[in-house]
């Protein structure tokens, strides 16, 4: 009898414990939330927007590589012979499909797109004011468009080399871990970008020219003007540029220029990806690729130096100087520091001078030479140069492209500006003792080596891409 009681008590105790414990197996992490929960409120959506911008700061993307890519691939800079082993294939245009840098930017851009997609697909279901939702969705559409634009210009041939029917990059608008999308055409990718940006423009109607470190309606227009220029849709490029130039932005003056790149939020900026000091990438800061101490691997090519009017051009005077401890070489001083941190730079992704030059080029290519000259001179006169007059046609386009080269140097534009204009990359300063040797000194615009390979790791994991590798890899 006594024994029976013991056993009963035991059974009860055990039963109680079992019931109490079973729930304990559902443990949620302390620093994370399930995706559904994270994106179920406006606060959660706003946090995800923050995370989307944060992703663009990756050293594989706007944090460093995107701003290196267009310049290292052309003739404006070179890799010093003594270097830290970074970006050699980019400089030599000798990518293997397994190249880590190409993989890095592919991965970073798509992960940005995935973060944008999640917001775009979830935001309509949360309870919040329409204005709040529009703001989050508009920014996400802008960022997605920017990332697709970067992908398509790096991993596909320029629009005019195939009229858009050539292979672009896969378009993904929903996050699905098991998806294996094939490449869309360049035209399809451009359509997606333009659609996204037009939607973004509308959704971001409440933003102003003072919205600089997040996407604004003007950022959407500014990017559209560039996208249309790449697409050779000049009238639309002009229309979008007009929206921006009428918004009240102004070019910085020569007096403001020295601190322009170390300051976030100047009158000229349209969209800047902001780094605060605690977000410094340390030795991986963009500027440290150009500076000693720092990697100091990348030096300014004499090819670029020769296009400057040394005496007058404020950009030369401020941003190109002798290299530390190697005075016969040239150093890029654009990205020296921000907040006292060497090499830290908040990339000014869209700014007014580019929009002027976009429009100048579009005008010149549609034979509106006078308007083109006005825009070109608007930039020149703020950079210490005399206004030009009396040039027309090809010479004018040439002047505009040269001005673009000077104005946007080290900001990742040069390769694309050459390629979309059918111009070759020509390195006159080539295979010199100071620099890493390259297999070619001239790359015609249609050279397959100017298009990066679809990363092998992507093809391995995505059977739809088998057979869709770019030519030459």
């Amino acid at each position: 009898m006594k024994t029976g009681k013991y056993i009963l008590i035991t059974a009860l105790a055990v039963g109680t414990l079992l019931a109490a414990c079973d729930k304990q197996l559902e443990l949620e992490p302390k620093d994370s939330q399930s995706t559904g929960q994270a994106l179920s409120t406006m606060k959660g959506i706003d946090a995800a927007v923050v995370g989307m911008y944060a992703n663009m700061r990756s050293a594989s993307y706007y944090g460093r590589y995107l701003f290196m890519y267009g310049d290292l691939s052309s003739a404006d800079v070179y890799l010093a012979k003594a270097n830290s082993n970074r970006f050699i294939p980019t400089f030599q245009r000798s990518f293997a499909a397994v190249d880590a840098d190409a993989l890095g930017i592919w991965t970073a851009a798509y992960s940005t797109i995935s973060r944008a997609n999640n917001i775009i697909n979830a935001v309509d279901n949360v309870s919040a004011t329409q204005a709040e939702k529009d703001l989050a969705k508009g920014q996400s559409l802008f960022v997605r468009a920017l990332a697709y634009f970067d992908l398509v210009r790096i991993f596909a041939k320029p629009y005019n080399q195939g009229g858009g029917s050539q292979l672009g990059v896969p378009i993904v608008t929903v996050t699905d871990i098991s998806s294996t999308p094939a490449r869309n055409t360049v035209a399809e990718v451009y359509t997606r970008i333009i659609d996204d940006l037009n939607q973004a423009k509308t959704l971001l109607s409440t933003t102003s020219k003072d919205t600089k470190v997040t996407a604004s309606k003007y950022a959407a227009s500014a990017l559209l003007s560039r996208v249309y220029l790449y697409k050779e849709d000049y009238n639309n490029a002009i229309t979008e540029a007009n929206v921006v130039t009428a918004a009240g932005y102004s070019l910085v003056t020569p007096a403001q220029l020295p601190t322009f790149y170390s300051t976030v939020g100047t009158s000229e900026e349209i969209f800047t990806l902001k780094f605060v000091s605690t977000e410094s990438l340390g030795s991986d800061n963009l500027g440290n690729m150009y500076l000693k101490p720092g990697y100091g691997d990348v030096r300014v090519s004499p090819d670029l130096v020769t296009v400057f009017d040394f005496g007058n051009d404020e950009r030369y005077k401020n941003f190109i100087g002798p290299f530390t401890n190697s005075p016969l070489e040239f150093q890029n001083n654009k990205f020296k520091s921000q907040d006292g941190i060497q090499g830290l730079y908040s990339p000014k992704i869209l700014r007014l001078s580019e929009v002027y030059l976009n429009r100048a080029e579009a005008y010149a290519k549609t034979s509106k030479d006078a308007q083109a000259l006005t825009d070109l001179n608007a930039v020149r006169t703020q950079r210490g140069l005399a206004a030009l007059s009396g040039i027309t046609g090809a010479a004018l386009v040439d002047s505009i492209l040269t001005e673009r080269r000077r104005e946007l140097m080290f900001e990742g534009h040069r390769l694309f500006d050459l390629a979309r204009n059918g111009l070759p990359v020509v390195r006159n300063y080539c295979n010199q003792p100071t620099e890493v040797s390259t297999p070619q000194c001239t790359y015609p615009a249609a050279d397959p080596k100017l298009t990066a390979p679809i990363p092998q790791a992507e093809i391995d994991a995505n059977p739809s891409l088998v057979g869709q590798q770019n030519p030459g890899y």
Binding site: T3, Y6, L25, Q33, M52, Y53, T278, E458, D460, A461
Partner: protein, 1012 residues
């Protein structure tokens, strides 16, 4: 253990009643020093009739007519067989010994008489564990248990080793065994942050001298008891408990010296470097005039031996005091330990203090309670990891004895980045003079651990006991890294106000465990041939860890070393993580005629780690044991004294992976423009589940030559399936990989252990213990049958073992021009290393870092009061990649570093020369040092792991001093290593890549062990 013995006793008493009572044998059991052995089991040979000895070692047993012999056994002692023909009184002297046939098998949940157990387990007793001057019990176990592989990752005192049981059974999840201390699953591994330090293991906090025995569980019969966490094997540690009887006070003091063990490795001295570099310059076309100008003989005026500076001799000392005793009602064990080991790399070391208390109390004949508190504190000073510029270990290979001289003309030290630190430009690789920075900077790790356990056992009936265990495992793991503002790691040239840095971190894991069980042993009728045992247990375990880290920069003066003085808060972080397991375990044992035993178990594990669709896992095992020696057909044979066959089959799992990987998550911690944000962190996998192991084991245990040679032989096959793999996914998803249960591995092998009493006489005794383990590992299945690329050195491929080397094949030196050559896939050679390495068809599988055979051999010789024991450990069949050598013997690539001592031997100088080494070219000769089989070496070795000579004071002196024992000993660790391996240490981590490893040490200690 004690409870189990009582249960066993209960069965024995029951059995006892059914035999005809014939005559009474009395006697006394004592140990080698004459002390009584309490609770020793006294059994009539070939039956289960028996009793146990009392506090004074005496026993009285009524034996049936015709009984010829008694079997006496006790934990930690060699089993004795005593002839009682015609005797009424016997006095038995037992010898301590770790025999293959010890009498019980402890699985943590259960304790079973060994001759009825179906489990394959290796037991290592206190004798083999205590007083070895090593911090971590894992390292002490090396070579002592079959099926257990221990590979040192660092010689830093307090560091962890790679431990594997019966091969490697996981690709990406944890492959280390589970640790159980006194029946409770405990945390293992590193909890300190490890800023730039060597690795660390919380198990180093445990004092090996507090360990009574370690049982290594290997087969399914035991591992299924641990369900989802048992798959990689289980190491069951039992701590010392009090014994009823006269109180014993034991004091052990040990003191000695340690030295680094650097094997066959050596670097050039300054004169050698001088000659070698001049020869290289000459060979590369420089004129004598240039060479004399660049390298004048005056360079040799001031030289520094960086190897000699980095490696130092240290002291090791330990003091242990324990008091044990008690009576039939209460038994207690108290111990106090202090251990202090200086590292063999400059400015490193480890100290540990331990306090333990174990109490068992019998409240009534129904209720027993027990409590144990095990508190430990360690204070480690870590050498900088070899991959850091500030590391003295790195400097032994990178710093030129010729070009780098640490002192300025005024006798003060260079900081390291000064141009003048190097006598020639370009010879300063590290930019840090550790002689300056190491004494100022430190990485200090202070760890506290408390293991507390309360247990109660209520005897409900003769056949059922209710047990409840509650345990808590608390760890405080602190680390402080300090970087003096004037040192290379602290200085901020761009902004001096930010020079100097302090990083403080704290990890605080807490594990709570509750075990509730019903168990019992019984026979249906008193005289029944059928014996039953059962266990029904519920276990709940909850783990929580919190961590916090703060980093401040900007220190005015190196003497100020707290966060409050830093000018700029650099970073703050913190986190928390949890898991829970809820498990139900059932086990039944059945024995017929004491000959045929059968056991089966089932465990259901639920874990918060598993995906919502797969939250519970079910594991089972079956096992049988057949005591052949008791069969009638064996009665007439004289060869075997014992013979038992056992077999088991069952399943277990591995759940050693991230706590939340099954969930699709957004992680917080992102920022933009000062705002906090979130981002996708885990793609999630609701089907994610444990990795599955299925194992078959067949074992044979035998004794021959009047029990003088005993042995165990086991063969096993272990299939590990549904292994987690990071399967690559399209990066357009925003992720690079997703975890899926895909892979499959096989481990199979055999294990033999033999114990032999070679000579047994009054004054001279000689015993030998030998073991060998063989394991063959093979990858059976991978995702999509695709290889897992392992960088430039390795690759995981179906059909190959894990940890395989996959490298270009070195073809030697071109005799015409001294160029390096590699083989292409078509058998031709090339000088283009990139062309070879970039295409997988040119690379071949050339072995694995996993050893095939491991051996342990121990001999103990005693002559009167003198005892000499020496223990050898050996491995064969593995290959290691000597990455050090690819730096220091690299044909001019690392010109200006120091060089391997033989780098100047037989290098190419003249056309036609058959050289071992390519022509040295400054800056490297066509990538001759790139990854290839040139750097693969066999690391077979035999090591004299431990040798101990001890002398016990004679009885009369001890008695006069009112002591019960006194012993002096001299002990040596790692004194001799026989190997062809050229590098620092043939013992590498599991990864097998020898690169700037903190070498293991060798030591000689003297000790005193007295008992009152």
């Amino acid at each position: 253990m004690r409870k189990a013995m009582l249960l066993l006793l209960g069965c024995l008493v029951l059995a006892f009643q059914l035999y005809a009572q014939d005559r009474v044998i009395t006697g006394r059991v004592s140990d080698a020093t004459g002390n009584p052995v309490v609770n020793a089991s006294v059994l009539v040979k070939g039956s289960s009739v028996g009793t146990t000895t009392k506090a004074d070692g005496s026993f009285s047993l009524t034996v049936p007519a015709g009984t010829k012999a008694l079997i006496i056994s006790s934990v930690g002692m060699a089993q004795e067989e005593v002839d009682i023909t015609g005797k009424e009184t016997v006095n038995v002297s037992m010898r301590g010994g770790e025999n293959a046939l010890q009498e019980v098998v402890v699985t943590g949940y259960t304790t079973t008489a060994r001759n009825k157990s179906t489990v394959s387990a290796s037991v290592v007793g206190a004798k083999d564990i205590s007083n070895v001057p090593m911090t971590n019990v894992n390292d002490i176990l090396q070579g002592k248990a079959t099926g257990l592989t221990v590979m040192s990752t660092s010689g830093q005192p307090g560091s962890s080793s790679n431990i594997r049981i019966r091969g490697v059974g996981s690709i990406s999840a944890g492959a280390s065994p589970l640790y159980v201390i006194d029946g409770i699953i405990v945390e293992r591994g590193q909890f300190v942050a490890g800023v730039i330090s060597q690795n660390n293991d919380i198990l180093s906090n445990m004092n090996p001298n507090d360990i009574e025995s370690v049982t290594v569980l290997k087969d399914a019969s035991a591992l299924a008891l641990y369900g989802a966490r048992g798959g990689n094997g289980v190491i069951v540690i039992n701590t010392k408990k009090g014994k009823a009887g006269t109180s014993k006070v034991n004091f052990v003091a040990q003191y000695g010296v340690t030295k680094p063990s650097v094997g066959n490795w050596g670097m050039m001295n300054a004169q050698q470097v001088y000659n070698y570099e001049r020869d290289i310059l000459k060979l590369n076309g420089y004129t004598d005039a240039f060479i004399n100008g660049y390298m004048p003989a005056s360079l040799l005026d001031k030289t520094y031996d960086w190897v000699d500076g980095a490696f130092v001799d240290g002291n090791v000392q330990s003091y242990d005091l324990s008091i044990s005793g008690g009576n039939e009602k209460t038994r207690q064990f108290l111990s106090l330990g202090y251990y202090d080991q200086e590292g063999t790399v400059f400015n490193s070391g480890f100290k540990r203090m331990t306090v333990n208390l174990n109490v068992d109390h019998t409240v009534s004949n129904r209720l027993k309670v027990g409590a144990s508190i095990n508190t430990t504190y360690s204070n480690g000073l870590n050498a900088d990891g070899g991959s850091f510029f500030s590391s003295p270990i790195l400097a032994t290979m990178t710093n030129s004895p010729l070009w780098l001289y640490p002192y300025k003309d005024d006798g003060s030290l260079f900081i390291g980045y000064e141009d003048e630190f190097s006598k020639g430009s370009g010879n300063n690789i590290t930019g840090d003079n550790w002689l300056y920075s190491s004494p100022l900077n430190y990485s200090r790790q202070k760890q506290f651990r408390a293991l507390g356990k309360l247990s109660g056992e209520l005897k409900l009936t003769n056949w059922m006991a209710l047990k409840q265990n509650l345990a808590i495992d608390i760890i405080y793991a602190r680390e402080k890294a300090f970087f003096d503002p004037t040192t290379g790691n602290g200085i901020n040239a761009a902004d001096p106000t930010k020079s100097g840095e302090i990083i403080e971190s704290m990890n605080n894991p807490i594990t709570f465990t509750s075990q509730t069980s019903l168990s019992g042993n019984f026979r249906l009728k008193n005289n029944d041939r059928h014996e039953f045992g059962y266990l029904a247990l519920m276990e709940y375990q909850r783990f929580n860890t919190t961590n916090i880290q703060a980093d401040g920069i900007g220190i005015v003066d190196g003497g100020l070393q707290v966060l409050n003085v830093t000018g700029t808060p650099n970073a703050v972080s913190g986190g928390e993580s949890e898991y829970a397991f809820l498990s139900y375990l059932g086990q039944v044992n059945y024995t017929l005629d004491s000959k045929y035993s059968f056991s089966a178990s089932i465990r259901r594990d639920g874990s918060s780690r598993f995906g919502a669709d797969n939250r519970y896992a079910l594991f089972y095992s079956v096992g049988g044991s057949w005591k052949l020696i008791d069969e009638s057909f064996m009665a007439n044979q004289k060869f075997f004294d014992d013979l038992r066959l056992r077999a088991s089959y069952g399943t277990s799992g591995v759940a050693d992976f991230g706590n939340y990987v099954a969930q699709q998550l957004y992680a917080y911690g992102q920022t933009y423009d000062g705002a906090p944000g979130s981002a996708p962190s885990t793609p999630g996998n609701p089907a994610l589940t444990w990795e599955k192991n299925k194992q078959t084991d067949i074992g044979l245990e035998f004794a021959i030559l009047k029990n003088r040679l005993r042995g165990t032989f086991d063969v096993y096959r272990r299939i590990s399936s549904e292994l987690l793999q990071n399967v690559p996914v399209s990066r357009t998803t925003g992720f690079t990989t997703a975890q899926r249960n895909i892979g499959e591995l096989e481990n199979k092998g055999f294990e033999v252990s033999l114990s032999s009493t070679n000579v047994k006489s009054k004054s001279f005794n000689w015993t030998t213990d030998f073991n060998v383990s063989y394991n063959k590992n093979e990858v059976l299945k991978l995702y999509n049958h695709q290889d897992i690329a392992g960088g430039t050195l390795g690759r995981t491929r179906e059909g190959q073992p894990l940890n395989s080397w996959f490298l270009p094949i070195w073809a030697g030196v071109n005799p015409n021009n001294g160029d390096p050559l590699w083989y292409l896939a078509d058998g031709k050679t090339t000088t283009n290393s990139y062309a070879v390495a970039s295409r997988t068809e040119n690379r071949q599988f050339v072995g694995t870092s996993l050893p095939k055979y491991t051996f342990g051999l121990n001999n103990t010789l005693s002559y009167n009061a003198l005892t000499l024991s020496f223990f050898f450990y050996a491995i064969t069949g593995s290959k290691i990649y000597d990455q050090n050598m690819s730096f220091i013997d690299s044909d001019g690539l690392r010109y200006g570093w120091n060089y391997y001592k033989d780098a100047d031997k037989n290098y190419w100088t003249t056309p036609g020369q058959q050289a071992d080494r390519p022509k040295p070219v400054i800056g490297g000769n066509k990538n001759s040092a790139s990854a290839s089989t040139r750097w693969i070496e066999s690391n077979d070795y035999i090591r004299l792991r431990n040798v101990t000579l001890s002398y016990s004071l004679p009885r009369n002196i001890i008695d006069r001093a009112k002591m019960t024992g006194a012993r002096f000993f001299v002990s040596g660790v790692n004194l001799l290593t026989i190997t062809n391996y050229k590098g620092v240490d043939p013992e590498t981590s599991l990864a097998g890549n020898d690169v700037f490893k903190y070498p293991v040490n060798k030591s000689v200690t003297v000790g005193l062990d007295i008992t009152f």
